[in-house]
Amino acid sequence: MTTGESKELQAKQKTEVAAPAEQTVPGIVFTPAVDIFENEKEITLLADLPGVKSDGLKIDLHESVLTLTGEIEPFENADEEDILIEYEVGRYFRQFTLSETIDQNRIEAKLKDGVLRLALPKAEKALPKKITVKAG
C-alpha cells in the first residue's frame, strides 16, 4: 500500500461478460470487480454488486465451481427522460474455480451497501489414517 495521500479514482467502464453460455433472459450482463484473498483458514471474496439486494443474489458452489449471479431492478421511473447516461445497468455474473476444497456448511455470505463478502472456510484436511497390514 502506498503511504501518503490516497490516489484519485479514475472512472472505469464496466466490463461486460464476454460471450458466456447464452442467457435466457435478455439484457446486459456485467462482470463485477472482485477481490479474492486467502489466509490459512479461509478464502474471502469481496465483490462490488451495486443495486443488488439479498433476494436478487444467488451463490452456488458445485464441484469446486463458485457461481455468483446478481439481479437488479430497473431504477428509473417510466416518465423520466435521459439527459446524460454514463453507465448502463445490468445483471452481474461471475464464475470461479476454487482450488481448495471448501467446507460448504460453513460458508458465510454478507451483502451490505452493494458489496458482497463471501467467507469460504477451507475444509479440514483429512487426518492420515494408519493402515495396518494383516500378516498371512
Binding site: D35, N39, E86, Y87, D113, G114
Partner: protein, 150 residues
C-alpha cells in the same frame, strides 16, 4: 505502408479526409454488428453518473458500492451539483495472500452542471445498496408551463 494517390484529387482537402471517411465507415460497420446504439460519453471522471429528468425534478444516480453516507459530500451551488468523497477498502487482514485485486479505493470529486435552475433547498439524496440517488427539484420558474389557448 502503402501510399495511395487519389487521382484526381476530388474534394479531399488533406490525406486525412480519406482516413476519416474510412474510420467512419468502420464505425458504422461495427455499430451494426453489436446491434446496440449505446456509446458511452463518459467524461472519464469518477463516478459515472446517469442524469435524467422529469417535469419536476432532476435525478442523478451513481454506483458507489461500499460507501456510506459519512464518506460522501454532496452540495448544490447555483445549478451545479458537487459530489466528492472517498472510497475506502479495509485491508484484508494479516497474513493474507491476494489472488485478485480489482476493486479500487481512493478519493474523487466531481461537479455536474444541471441544465436548468434548481431549488437548492429541497435536494434529497439517498444511498441504498451501493446506489446513490439524488433528487433535485427544478425551480418553479424552470418548470414547463402549459399555456391554454382560449
Amino acid at each position: 505502408m502503402l501510399i495511395r494517390r487519389s487521382f484526381p484529387n476530388w474534394g479531399f482537402r488533406s490525406t486525412f479526409d480519406e482516413i476519416d471517411r474510412m474510420r467512419r465507415d468502420m464505425d458504422r460497420l461495427f455499430d451494426g454488428l453489436s446491434g446496440r446504439y449505446f456509446r458511452p460519453v463518459s467524461s472519464g471522471v469518477f463516478p459515472a453518473v446517469n442524469l435524467t429528468e422529469d417535469k419536476d425534478n432532476y435525478y442523478i444516480r451513481a454506483e458507489l458500492p461500499g460507501m456510506t453516507a459519512d464518506d460522501l459530500n454532496i452540495s448544490v451551488i447555483g445549478s451545479n451539483l458537487s459530489l466528492s468523497g472517498e472510497r475506502k477498502i479495509p485491508a484484508g487482514g494479516e497474513q493474507v495472500r491476494y489472488h485478485r485485486r480489482e476493486r479500487e479505493a481512493g478519493n474523487f470529486s466531481r461537479v455536474i452542471g444541471l441544465p436548468g435552475d434548481v431549488n437548492g433547498d429541497k435536494v434529497e439524496a439517498s444511498l441504498k445498496n451501493g446506489i446513490l440517488t439524488i433528487v433535485v427539484p427544478k425551480a418553479e420558474k424552470a418548470k414547463p408551463k402549459q399555456i391554454t389557448i382560449k
